[in-house]
């Protein structure tokens, strides 16, 4: 094909692909909204799914937040200027963990853990006709499969991020005492001095938004899986990559909206 025709053809395909995704995503969201009326079906499944997500993710959340807090403390020690009062370290570590590292780092890791599981589960169900079977029994895949997963991720991410914030700040507190002459009183004073309750809300709002993104994107990828085992692999990879990019975009967007 002549070179001048390749670019429009490529752009045309790109646009059609985007419109197809947009259409399928819109249909899934419409099904989700409709399925919300079937509370008796999705509520028990959501509770069970939330328990699985929460308990299953807790160990990795504890490990990551402890290391994040420790590294933040060590880097604060490395860059420390003696002209500043030491209580600023409490402010620095607390705000870094609560505003940014806690929600973003934990969400990126859980995009891999939860997102991969959702996409692989639903993708396998799709290619083995289990989703078709559910529909053929007159039951809604939205209320049985998608809503419980999306809600579980949206509810449990904030819970896990609050735990991560607490452990991260604790680890940072302990870590900074190992590298700089800062007392518990100094750290606590600094953490409280610049603390605003909104910082905690911001962390939780971000976590909920990231959880929603992980749930919706991963379920969408899994639900629309095609072509057997290879398709499940592609859907799982796409779920992790897309969720991670959406988390970073949302992070920027929420900072712009909520912090200005």
């Amino acid at each position: 094909m002549a070179l001048p025709l390749r670019l429009p053809r490529f752009l045309g395909r790109l646009l059609l692909g985007f419109l197809a995704h947009f259409g399928r995503m819109s249909l899934m969201m419409a099904e989700l909204v409709r399925g919300l009326a079937e509370v008796k079906i999705w509520l028990p499944r959501t509770i069970s799914e939330a328990a699985t997500v929460g308990t299953g993710s807790l160990p990795i959340v504890i490990v990551i937040s402890a290391f994040a807090g420790g590294v933040t403390a060590l880097q604060a020690g490395y860059q420390w200027q003696t002209s500043l009062p030491v209580y600023v370290l409490g402010t620095l570590i607390t705000n870094t963990i609560v505003l940014e590292l806690g929600p973003v780092l934990i969400s990126l890791v859980l995009a891999g853990r939860i997102g991969a599981r959702y996409a692989a589960e639903l993708g396998t169900m799709r290619v083995t006709e289990q989703i078709d079977a559910l529909e053929s029994l007159g039951r809604s895949p939205a209320s049985h499969l998608i809503i419980p997963r999306v809600l579980a991720a949206t509810v449990m991410l904030p819970v896990l991020v609050v735990i991560a914030d607490i452990i991260g700040v604790g680890a940072g507190w302990y870590g900074v005492k190992q590298v700089l002459p800062v007392t518990d009183e100094d750290f606590a004073f600094g953490a409280r001095y610049y603390w605003r309750p909104f910082d905690a809300y911001y962390s939780v709002i971000k976590a909920a938004a990231f959880g929603l993104a992980i749930g919706v994107v991963s379920c969408y990828m899994g639900f629309n899986t095609q072509q057997g085992a290879e398709g499940v692999g592609k859907a799982t990879t796409a779920a992790i990559v897309t969720s991670s990019v959406v988390i970073l975009l949302l992070n920027l967007l929420l900072a712009r909206i909520l912090l200005t």
Binding site: T128, Q130, D132, S136, G138, R139
Partner: protein, 251 residues
């Protein structure tokens, strides 16, 4: 009654169904024959609305399946049992929960005593021992999975049963067991059935009528005797098992 009128379906460049006309009357067992990859399963999925036609109509119980509202389609599906090729059992549920999910009436689904009795009854109908109910799909053989799939499809006492390759992948003994089971269920339950298969012998054993799908069209639909006596080259070629989809048909 099930009726397809001029149904066309294409996936990308490939035309799978090219104006299919197909009728299954009340109480009939229809075997839909055809070589692999000719769209038999696609046709079957049009009947309960899992796939929408590009053109044409699918009528079940005088209802146009693809113009029904969401809740109307869900209600219609409770009258249509669907047996999937590989069972399509839910991996995370044991056999009891899988079959119980076939109880389309929500009140009966929640009534544990009724559900237990009905699941046991359905497992007995498909010749499975009661202790099978506690097993998970991964613990079952291929033949058992197919029978659990049938038990789930009949749990809600449907008016129609659609079987997608119920004997594929089974050894001849187990294939005969499934054929006998299909015939017995159709007689005992009085359902109207469509069985997609490429097993000619099984089709002649089980069906009241047979249809052959080839090149996106129904080549012939009629009694088994009409098939045997047909001079249509595609029918003859298929019955002689020397069907080659990409080469000219044997005369």
């Amino acid at each position: 009654m099930i009726e397809l009128r001029g149904v066309r379906k294409r996936f990308g460049e490939q035309i799978v169904l090219d104006g299919v006309d197909f009728v299954v009357r009340e109480g009939e067992t229809m075997a839909l024959l055809g070589p692999s990859g000719t769209g038999k399963s696609v046709l079957l999925k049009h009947i309960n609305g899992l796939i929408r036609p590009d053109r044409g109509q699918v009528i079940v119980d005088d209802l146009n399946v693809h113009t029904l509202k969401r809740n109307e389609l869900a209600e219609l599906r409770t009258r249509i049992g669907y047996v999937f090729q590989n069972g399509a059992l839910f991996d995370s549920m044991d056999v009891f929960e899988n079959v119980r999910l076939g109880l389309s009436d929500e009140a009966k689904y929640k009534d544990k005593d009724y559900a237990q009795a009905r699941v046991a009854e359905c497992l007995k109908l498909v010749n499975l021992a009661p202790e099978t109910s506690t097993k998970f799909p991964a613990q079952l053989s291929g033949g058992m999975r197919k029978r659990v799939g049938i038990a789930r499809a009949i749990a809600g006492a449907p008016k129609y049963l659609l079987y997608d390759e119920p004997t594929s992948g089974l050894d001849p003994v187990n294939a005969n067991v499934i054929d006998d089971l299909v015939r017995r269920l159709d007689k005992e339950l009085g359902v109207t059935s469509v069985m997609v298969t490429h097993d000619v012998r099984g089709a002649f054993n089980v069906a009241d009528k047979i249809a052959l799908l080839s090149d996106g069209k129904i080549v012939l639909q009629g009694l088994p005797e009409e098939f045997r006596e047909s001079t249509d080259p595609k029918v003859k070629a298929f019955l002689e098992r020397d069907f080659e989809p990409d080469t000219p048909f044997a005369a």
